[in-house]
């Protein structure tokens, strides 16, 4: 259930170092794109098996005449197989941006392709759809937008039954959706949301993964909170999405990843999270989190962070809804195992994906802030020390760890009794030596709470040269008031 599809297509002659370099480049490009709010990625479904001794699939540049020739052969050839092969040749050419440009500017070409897409010959339909898919993957807007005449048919075919074909249509739609608002302005009135809602009942895992992809692209759109998410929430999609995220023998990793991201785009838009809560989102996602932790324990962890990330985000955002208090007991998130699972995941992140530690700690904050029960769990499961071990990772992580500790400490003496004696004080003396103002500031807040509810700790603090640690920050504008207050408190014990 947790094994992902392992593919075998790699660019020929690529060593590991080269792959790493390319990955770093792509990562940098993606970061830049995100900062400019232009994050677009398309998914290409290519299942070319190299044919008859060909070394690899090299995209061929086709000229106008060749394109016309292939199209005519596809339309009027006498044998279906021959017509299909013409389209295969066209598709190979369309893998190249130059051919794509030539194609879209050639009069009647799209019309012919759409004609083949809707023909009564199954093989031609499939090959025409593959050509369209290549075009949809283009990075050039003009090429993708040239596919617009086909969208009503792609949507119509979603109610069909041929799973391979539907999968192809969905990935094509997903690529087109993300292209521009103009495309979405056509797809929405054409009924893409009801079409997807009908299609989500398919039993085919490949179709579901493709559908999740297309939907995630739709939900990621800039105008989604106003124009798309309300109708998605009004459809049967939310219930089905949550069903597909339920742990159990039927859970498919690829499908779950896509729908978890869909759910994230919905929840972080804050349109109507209360509705999701009434559908049981919190308990479903909580159980999924437990399942993820279980998979980590069994070291079936390939790519788990791809699913863990959106699940953490959804839980964190959903917990902030006022509606949480209003629903029944079983709809809320009170299970202590969630804390255990979260720490198992934090340990996993520390090794595999440290950039996800802040997200995990964000959830921990939202779990503990208003919950004496979860704070008690942290203490009874002995999780304070593991938490402290995360302090050196980064300033962001340190601030979050200290915030969670403050959540525990502010609940009063019964809680602080478990915080000291213990390793906490020593760690705080360490964080006071950090140069980051926010880290130090949060350390000061925690010290205040500790001294307030556990006066003996102040004594120990003095004995361990705490005053000197404080002195370093006496001149710092943002810290000095609190530093002085603490110095007074410590000295007057």
């Amino acid at each position: 259930m947790w094994l992902r599809r392992q593919g075998c297509l790699r660019p020929a002659g690529c060593g590991v170092e080269e792959l790493r370099r390319r990955r770093r480049e792509r990562e940098a490009a993606l970061r830049k794109a995100r900062r400019e709010q232009q994050l677009i990625s398309k998914r290409l479904l290519r299942d070319d098996a190299p044919e008859e001794g060909e070394g690899g699939c090299v995209a061929v540049i086709l000229g106008q005449a060749e394109i016309q020739q292939f199209l005519q052969l596809a339309q009027r050839g006498t044998e279906e197989k021959e017509r299909g092969r013409a389209l295969v040749s066209l598709r190979r050419g369309l893998q190249h941006p130059e051919t794509q440009q030539t194609f879209i500017w050639l009069e009647g070409s799209m019309r012919t392709l759409v004609g083949l897409l809707t023909s009564n010959q199954a093989l031609l339909q499939l090959e025409a759809a593959r050509c369209l898919h290549e075009l949809s993957h283009s990075e050039q807007s003009a090429v993708a937008e040239a596919c617009l005449p086909a969208t009503s048919y792609l949507l119509t075919y979603l109610s069909g039954h041929s799973s391979d074909f539907i999968e192809l249509c969905l990935y094509t739609l997903g690529n087109l959706i993300v292209e521009s608002e103009a495309v979405r302005r056509q797809l929405l009135p054409q009924g893409i949301v009801p079409a997807l809602a009908a299609c989500v009942q398919s039993p085919h895992v490949t179709v579901l993964e493709a559908l999740g992809y297309a939907l995630s692209q739709l939900l990621q759109a800039k105008e989604a909170p106003e124009k798309i998410i309300p109708s998605v929430l009004g459809s049967t999609l939310p219930q089905h999405m949550l069903q597909l995220l339920q742990p159990g023998p039927k859970l498919n990793f690829g499908v779950a990843v896509e729908f978890a991201w869909c759910l994230h785009y919905i929840t972080c838009s804050q349109v109507n999270n209360a509705l999701l809560i009434t559908h049981g989102a919190l308990s479903t996602l909580g159980l999924l989190l437990l399942d993820l932790a279980g998979a980590v324990q069994r070291t079936e962890d390939a790519g788990l962070e791809l699913l863990a990330c959106p699940v953490l985000r959804c839980l964190s955002n959903l917990l902030t809804e006022a509606a949480v208090g209003a629903v029944g007991e079983q709809m809320q998130l009170r299970d202590e195992r969630v804390v255990a699972a979260l720490f198992i995941l934090l340990q996993f992140f520390l090794q595999k994906q440290p950039s996800l530690l802040p997200e995990g700690l964000w959830l921990l904050n939202n779990l503990t802030a208003n919950s004496p029960s979860f704070c008690t769990s942290l203490l009874s499961l002995d999780l304070i020390e593991p938490l402290l071990q995360l302090l050196p990772v980064s300033n962001v992580v340190s601030v979050l760890v200290l915030t969670v500790l403050c959540n525990v400490a502010e609940k009063g003496p019964a809680y602080c009794q478990h915080l000291w004696p213990g390793p906490l004080l020593c760690s705080l003396l360490g964080t006071l030596a950090f140069s980051d103002t926010e880290v130090v500031g949060q350390s000061l807040e925690l010290l205040q709470l500790l001294f307030l509810y556990r006066p003996e700790a102040a004594q120990a603090f003095l004995q361990q040269s705490g005053l000197q640690a404080l002195e370093r920050h006496e001149k710092e504008a943002q810290l000095q008031d609190r530093v002085h207050a603490l110095q007074q408190t410590a000295l007057h014990r």
């Binding site: 992902r4 093989l123 009135p189 804050q270 195992r337 807040e445």
Partner: protein, 237 residues
Amino acid sequence: MQLPPAVHARLAGGPGAAEPLPVERSPKAGAAPFRFTARQVRFPREHEFFEDGDVQRHLYLQDVLTQVAGAPERPRVPEFTCQVAGCCQVFDALEDYEHHYHTLHRNVCSFCKRAFPSGHLLDIHILEWHDSLFQILSERQNMYQCLVEGCTEKFKTSKDRKDHLVRRHLYPADFRFDKPKKNMSPATPRATVQVSAEALGAEGEQVEGDAMEVCSEPAGERHTAGRRKLWSISRTL
């Protein structure tokens, strides 16, 4: 980061919440110059907090090209013929057969043999083309339903419906699955090759022909995909 064994044991245990320790706050906590209050935090969509996770997500999407080879090379099987009576198509891969079957034989009108991409469109077709009660009723009420799933509008005429499809749903004016009814006997089959040549004009222009036709079949046994009727009047060939 080392976790105490109790954590793993707890995960394996049953559901339950910890009995909370008593809460007892002092008004001095968080009082000026201190400012801490325990509170939940939410991040909106575009917040930079999400940057790392988003980038990983998109690397994954882009990676799929190098990870997923699609279906493994299609297993070839000994050649077999489509089992539908009168269909002569031959296959050597199951996936090709699946698509052929669903395209040509699955949603077939038992009266005129036209094939449709979905059950929904087939139902509408039977109603509008082969049901005489429909014609009678449509004189008094709006019977032509919108083709788009999820739209409940109905119209007096097929033309009104087309206008709605174009204006409201931005469908192409020559949408191939919305042909107005022709005056022809539904029992006349039409040869595939002939239709293809007619349907595609000189420059690849689509002529108003019937897009979905099935293979011509010998007279006699006809394959019926058996759609249920919405009205109790049935039409026999």
